[in-house]
C-alpha cells in the first residue's frame, strides 16, 4: 500500500476501508523519522503508538505538534533548556480535541526557543534544516512543524503563530500554513508567547486538510476566556462552494520584496483573474508600523509570560534562558516599567486599534487581501545573526494581520530562481476563514500549487 505523500483525508480513507491499520501508518512515519530526522532535526521528542478505541475524523492519523503544545505524559520544552525535562500533566485543548478524533501524536517538533524567532535557530536543540536545501532555514518559529510536513515526516502538523510563525515557515518550507482568527482556536495549554496574539493553526499538504483540522480545533473553550463563541462553520463543505471574490492588492505589501517573489505573486494574481475574481487596488497602513506595535506588545507580554520560569518548579532556572529570550524580557520589562507604560505599551495599543480599523475599512471594499507571505525565500542558516530584529524583518508582511487578529493562509505559488518555494498569503476579515480556504482551494484545483508541494515531497521519497 502506497502511503507516501498521501494527505490526511486520503490516509483517513485508507484506514476507513481497512486497507491499512493505524499502527502500520504510525510505524511508517516512525521509520521515516528515524531515517530523515537526523538530517533535518524537525523533531525533538518522539512519541509512542497508543492503541485507541475511538471513532472520529482522524482515526489512524499520526500528527506532529509544535513543542509549545502541552501534551500529557510527553515532554514539552518549547525548545528551551529551562523546560528540558518538563512533562505536562495535561493536554492543551487543541491536543485533546485532535486526540478525541482518534489521531495519534507522532512527536513534538522543533521551534525557536519559546517561539522567539523566525528561523528555528534560537532552539536549544539546534536548528531545523530546510528540507528543500539543508543549508537553509525552514523559517520559524514553527520550522520543525513545516519541515516535518514538507519532508513527509508527518502528514500534517499543528503549529502556532504569534506573528508569522505559521505562515512564514510554511512559505519557506513550501507547504500550507493557516493562521486562524485570534480567539478562533483555544490557546489553553499552548505555552504563551504573546498572549494577545497567539493562535494555533494547521500546517498541511492540501487546503482541504487545513479545513478539516481547523474544523476540529476551532471553537469556544471554557478554559480560554479569549476564545470566541462565534459558531464554527463546516469549513470542509464551504471551501468547495466556489464563487468569485473581490481581491484587494496593496502596493505597501510589495515594498522591499524580492523581484523573484513579486513575479510569482503577479502570476498568481493573473490566475485569480482568469478564475473570474475581481482584483482591486487598495491602500493600507504600511506594514512597517505593525512592526513597532508588535514589538512593543509582544515583548511586554513575553516579559510577563516568562516570569513563571523562576527556577522553583521546572528544574532549570533562568540562567538557562537563551540570549533572544533575555533580550525580549529586558525590552518588555523596560516598556512596562513605571513611567514608560504610557509612552510604549499604551501607545502601541492605540496604534494597534488604528491598524484594526484600517483593515475593517479595507474589508468594506474587498473580501480578501493578498500579498507575498515573506519578502524573500528561505535564507541560509546563520543569516539571522546579522539582523538585530531578524524575526520582525522576515515577518513584516505577517505582522499587520497578527496585530489585528485576522485570519490568513500561506500557500505555495511557485519556485524562485534558487529553486526555493515562494509563498503567497490570503488575509480576510475576522472569522472569515471560509473565504480564505475557498480561494486557496480554487487556486489549488487550478494549479496544484505548480507542483511545489509534490516536488518538495519527492526529495524525500524513499
Amino acid at each position: 500500500m502506497e502511503i507516501f505523500g498521501k494527505s490526511v483525508i486520503e490516509l483517513r480513507q485508507l484506514v476507513k476501508k481497512k486497507k491499512i491499520s493505524p499502527r502500520e501508518i504510525y510505524e511508517y512515519f516512525q521509520k521515516r523519522i528515524e531515517k530523515y530526522n537526523p538530517k533535518l532535526n524537525a523533531y525533538i521528542t518522539k512519541a509512542d503508538f497508543e492503541d485507541k478505541n475511538v471513532e472520529g475524523l482522524l482515526v489512524g492519523i499520526p500528527l506532529s505538534f509544535k513543542d509549545n503544545f502541552c501534551t500529557k505524559g510527553i515532554r514539552t520544552t518549547a525548545s528551551s533548556k529551562v523546560l528540558y525535562d518538563f512533562v505536562p500533566p495535561y493536554d492543551a485543548t487543541v491536543v485533546s480535541k485532535i486526540k478525541q478524533e482518534g489521531a495519534a501524536i507522532i512527536g513534538k517538533t522543533n521551534m525557536d526557543a519559546w517561539a522567539h524567532g523566525s528561523s528555528t535557530e534560537t532552539s536549544d536543540f539546534g536548528p531545523t534544516k530546510n528540507p528543500w536545501n539543508l543549508e537553509r532555514s525552514p523559517g520559524g518559529s514553527s520550522g520543525g512543524a513545516t519541515a516535518s510536513v514538507s519532508a513527509y515526516l508527518s502528514p500534517a502538523s499543528i503549529g502556532s503563530e504569534t506573528a508569522g510563525s505559521i505562515r512564514q515557515p510554511a512559505s519557506w518550507s513550501g507547504v500550507i500554513g493557516l493562521k486562524p482568527t485570534y480567539g478562533r482556536v483555544s490557546r489553553y495549554g499552548v505555552i504563551a508567547m504573546g498572549s494577545s496574539l497567539d493562535c494555533p493553526g494547521p500546517i498541511t499538504l492540501t487546503v482541504e486538510d487545513a479545513a478539516l483540522i481547523l474544523k476540529i480545533i476551532a471553537g469556544h473553550d471554557p478554559y480560554d476566556a479569549t476564545s470566541s463563541r462565534y459558531p464554527v462553520p463546516d469549513y470542509q463543505t464551504s471551501l468547495k462552494k466556489g464563487g468569485s471574490f473581490t481581491i484587494g492588492i496593496t502596493d505597501e505589501y510589495f515594498e522591499g520584496v524580492d523581484e523573484d517573489v513579486k513575479v510569482k505573486i503577479e502570476e498568481a494574481i493573473k490566475i485569480f483573474k482568469r478564475l473570474g475574481h475581481k482584483i482591486k487596488k487598495i491602500k493600507l497602513i504600511p506594514p512597517k508600523y505593525a512592526i513597532s506595535v508588535y514589538t512593543i506588545i509582544q515583548r511586554a507580554e513575553v516579559s510577563s509570560n516568562l516570569a513563571r520560569y523562576d527556577g522553583i518548579r521546572y528544574g532549570n532556572n533562568r540562567s538557562y534562558l537563551g540570549s533572544e529570550a533575555k533580550r525580549r524580557i529586558m525590552l518588555g520589562t523596560y516598556t512596562l516599567s513605571y513611567g514608560y507604560y504610557d509612552a510604549y505599551y499604551k501607545k502601541a495599543q492605540k496604534v494597534r486599534t488604528l491598524i484594526k480599523e484600517d483593515f475593517s475599512r479595507a474589508f468594506k471594499d474587498v473580501d480578501v487581501i493578498i500579498s507575498p507571505t515573506t519578502p524573500m525565500t528561505a535564507l541560509k542558516l546563520g543569516e539571522f545573526e546579522k539582523y538585530p530584529f531578524f524575526g520582525e524583518a522576515m515577518d513584516v508582511l505577517n505582522e499587520p494581520a497578527a496585530v489585528a487578529g485576522l485570519p490568513a493562509i500561506s500557500i505555495p505559488v511557485g519556485l524562485d530562481s534558487k529553486k526555493l518555494p515562494v509563498g503567497m498569503q490570503i488575509m480576510a476579515r475576522s472569522f472569515n476563514e471560509e473565504a480564505i480556504l475557498n480561494l486557496a482551494y480554487q487556486f489549488e484545483k487550478e494549479t496544484n500549487f505548480f507542483d511545489v508541494i509534490k516536488k518538495g515531497l519527492n526529495n524525500y521519497r524513499d
Binding site: 518538563f86 505536562p88 495549554g189 505555552i191 494577545s196 479569549t226 510577563s304
Partner: protein, 445 residues
C-alpha cells in the same frame, strides 16, 4: 511657645477572601482551610506553562455586591491587570489583580455620623501559603487563586477606636452579604492600616507607615496606638518618620521595620491579555443589587423606629445576621400566638430583645418553643385561686404518704404535690402560686 498639635491620619486596606465554591480563575475548590497541602490544585492555579485563567462570575458579582453595600460607584467598564513581583508564593510571577479600573470606586460608610470614604473595591487572586519549616520553606498551593477582595479606604480615621469600630461594622456587613466568613483567625479577613501624623492642620503628612501581619481587631488597635506614640515622639524631635512597611509583634505589642520605601516595587502593571475586559450593564447591576439583604444599619433604624427598641439593644441584636433574623421571626410570630391572650405586653419588641440579650431564653431553641417560654415570662397566666384550693384539697386527701413526707421535711414531696395539682388544673395555674397554697394548707394542719 505654643504646643504643637499631633493629629493621626489613618487609612485602611482590607483583604477579604470570598467563600465561592471554586477559585477565582479555575475549577478547584476555594474551601482550602484545613485541607491537606497541595490537594486543591490544577495547571491554572499552579501557573503551569500554557494554563489560562477564566474568571469566576460569582466572585465578580459578590465584589459588585460589596461595592454596592459600601455605596460605591460600579465601573461600567472594568478589567483585570497583571501585577508583577517575584515571590515563591506567586506561581506565575504575577498576581492577577485590578489596577486602574477596579470594579467599584468612591463609596462611603457612615460611622456614627462620621463619613468614611471608600476609595476602591477590587478583585484579585490570593497567593499560595509559605510554611517555614526550619531551614526549608514549603509551599502549599491550596490557597493560590482563591478570590480575594481588596477594600481601600481614604485616610479618614483619626483614632484607633474609630478604626476598630469600622472594622467590626465592615465584618458584620460582609457576613450579612454572605460572601465571606471574614474570619480573622483563618485569614479570610486581613488588615493593613497605614498611619501617619499631621502636625499642622493645613498640611498633609509627607510619609506613610504601613503595618502588615495583623490578625485581630484588638491588635489593629494596639498597632495603631503604638505607631501614633512612636511617630509622635519622632516628630517631637523635629524629625520625620521613615516611609516604610512595618510588621506587628503580637507578644510585645510593638511594630517593627520590614521594608523601606527605597525597596518599593515597580509592579509593571498591564492589562491581563488572557481575560477580556468586563462590561457591566445597568440591568445586570440592578439584578445584583436585588440580592442585597437588609443591612445592619437599616435594621437598627427599623428596630428603633418601628419595633421600639433602644439603640444599644438594636445594635447588639444586629451584630449577627442569624440572630437578627431569629429575633424578627420571633417578633412576628409572637403577635400571632398572643392574639387571644387578654393581658397584652406593652413593648413587645424591647421585651423580646431583653429576653434574647439577657439570655433569659436560649436562642438555639426552635422559634415556637422560644415564644412559648417568652409568653410564660411576659404574659403570666391568671390563676383561679378557688379552683387551686379545691384541687389542693383533693390532692392532699389522695396522697397521704407524700403529705407525711412533706411534714417530715422532704422537699421532693412538695414538688410531687405541686405536680399533682398542676395536673388537676390541666396546667392552668402558676406553679409558684400552687406551691404557696399547698404550703399554706398543710401548714395549717
Amino acid at each position: 511657645m505654643m504646643e504643637k498639635t499631633y493629629l493621626p491620619i489613618i487609612g485602611l486596606e482590607i483583604h477579604v477572601e470570598l467563600k465561592t465554591k471554586s477559585k477565582m480563575f479555575c475549577q478547584d475548590s476555594a474551601d482550602y482551610f484545613g485541607k491537606p497541602p497541595n490537594t486543591l490544585t490544577c495547571p491554572v492555579c499552579l501557573g503551569m506553562p500554557g494554563a489560562l485563567p477564566t474568571p469566576n462570575k460569582k466572585a465578580i458579582e459578590w465584589t459588585i455586591l460589596i461595592g454596592q453595600a459600601l455605596k460605591c460607584q460600579i465601573n461600567r467598564l472594568s478589567k483585570f491587570d497583571r501585577k508583577h513581583y517575584f515571590y515563591p508564593d506567586l506561581p506565575k510571577g504575577y498576581q492577577i489583580s485590578q489596577y486602574d479600573q477596579p470594579i467599584a470606586i468612591k463609596g462611603y460608610f457612615n460611622l456614627n455620623g462620621k463619613k468614611i470614604r471608600i476609595k476602591r473595591v477590587h478583585l484579585e487572586e490570593d497567593t499560595a501559603k509559605l510554611i517555614h519549616d526550619g531551614k526549608n520553606t514549603l509551599i502549599d498551593f491550596n490557597r493560590a487563586g482563591v478570590p480575594l477582595v481588596e477594600i481601600v479606604t481614604e485616610p479618614d480615621f483619626n483614632s484607633s477606636d474609630d478604626v476598630k469600630k469600622f472594622l467590626e461594622e465592615l465584618q458584620v456587613i460582609i457576613r450579612y452579604l454572605d460572601v465571606s466568613d471574614a474570619d480573622m483567625e483563618k485569614g479570610s479577613m486581613r488588615l493593613e492600616p497605614n498611619i501617619s501624623i499631621k502636625t499642622k492642620a493645613e498640611e498633609l503628612p509627607k510619609y506613610k507607615v504601613e503595618v502588615k501581619n495583623i490578625n485581630s481587631f484588638r491588635f489593629v488597635k494596639q498597632a495603631i496606638d503604638f505607631e501614633i506614640k512612636r511617630q509622635t515622639e519622632i516628630l517631637k524631635e523635629n524629625k520625620i518618620p521613615n516611609q516604610e512597611t512595618r510588621g506587628f509583634d503580637e507578644k510585645k505589642g510593638k511594630t517593627y521595620p520590614q521594608r523601606k520605601k527605597e525597596e518599593a516595587h515597580d509592579y509593571r502593571y498591564f492589562p491581563e491579555p488572557d481575560i477580556p475586559p468586563l462590561v457591566f450593564f445597568d440591568e445586570y447591576l440592578k439584578k445584583i443589587e436585588k440580592m442585597m439583604p437588609e443591612l445592619p444599619e437599616d435594621k437598627i433604624k427599623k428596630y428603633v423606629e418601628e419595633l421600639g427598641l433602644k439603640y444599644q439593644d438594636a445594635y447588639i441584636i444586629t451584630r449577627n445576621k442569624n440572630l437578627s433574623a431569629y429575633f424578627e421571626e420571633v417578633y412576628a410570630k409572637y403577635f400571632e400566638k398572643t392574639k387571644k391572650l387578654e393581658e397584652k405586653v406593652k413593648n413587645v419588641g424591647q421585651s423580646l430583645a431583653n429576653l434574647i440579650i439577657n439570655r433569659k431564653v436560649e436562642t438555639n431553641l426552635p422559634v415556637e418553643d422560644f415564644i412559648s417560654k417568652a409568653i410564660e415570662i411576659l404574659s403570666p397566666k391568671k390563676t383561679d385561686i378557688k379552683a387551686v384550693d379545691r384541687a389542693v384539697e383533693k390532692v392532699i386527701l389522695a396522697n397521704s404518704k407524700a403529705v407525711a413526707d412533706y411534714k417530715s421535711g422532704k422537699i421532693n414531696a412538695l414538688m410531687f404535690l405541686i405536680g399533682q395539682v398542676m395536673r388537676e388544673m390541666k396546667g392552668k395555674a402558676e406553679a409558684k402560686i400552687v406551691g404557696e397554697r399547698i404550703s399554706l394548707v398543710l401548714g395549717r394542719r
